[in-house]
Subunit: 128 residues, 2 copies
């Protein structure tokens, strides 16, 4: 692929490196402040649905089912931009997050902070 | 785990959800402008080395070997902070990046932008 080259979405989907379960990891980042909110997985079908609907739609590995983020919680994620990495095995999406990204009610999922000096983990403050 | 609770690093490592290959995905983000630079993988050993040395050290799945980022390219990543997500299966690191994170010479790996409206992919401009 060369600079400025354009590619049909179907060709792209065919060339993505889904893993042996047919899944690809998706990093979801807040479009405004660039906080990484969560990481989850999509298959080809939920990836297409995300692009068509503009609502982040993952594949739940635990439930083995489509997971429209916010459908049960109201915490929708509206897709702002989607990017794919150099070797086609990771997706980065920027979103407008309604409410909390994390199922614990926190704004994002990365609330365990590792303090290397003290060789310990501290849970950070608040539901932020 | 409760708010403010402290945990030995060894206990943390034992409780992380490494995948069936003994690996955990690591999202690497620029500490200054919050750009997501890349995603790669660590095993328990390279995770400990990253914490001890302060240099991002991954496990290369293609080479099946330890990968000290920057050792051959000079494009080191100094660890600024490490966080773990709610279900212990993803790591988020903020780093100070020397040079380019991507092996293509670009600052980050996510340079394929998907344009949903046009059902196509466009490679974005420049090595930025």
């Amino acid at each position: 692929l060369a600079e400025g080259e354009r590619l049909e979405l179907s060709s792209l989907l065919a060339s993505l490196n889904f893993n042996s379960d047919g899944l690809i990891p998706v990093i979801t980042q807040d479009a405004d402040d660039k906080q990484v909110l969560m990481m989850a997985w999509m298959n080809a079908d939920t990836l297409e649905k995300t692009l068509h609907t503009g609502l982040m739609t993952y594949w739940s590995r635990s439930r083995q089912a489509e997971w429209i983020k916010g459908k049960s919680s109201g915490h929708w994620q509206q897709l702002v931009s989607m990017r794919i990495d150099c070797d086609g095995d990771t997706i980065l999406c920027q979103v407008n997050q309604t409410g909390a990204a994390c199922h614990t009610g926190r704004r994002h999922c990365f609330y365990f902070k590792v303090s290397a000096e003290q060789q310990e983990v501290v849970i950070n403050s608040g539901l932020s």
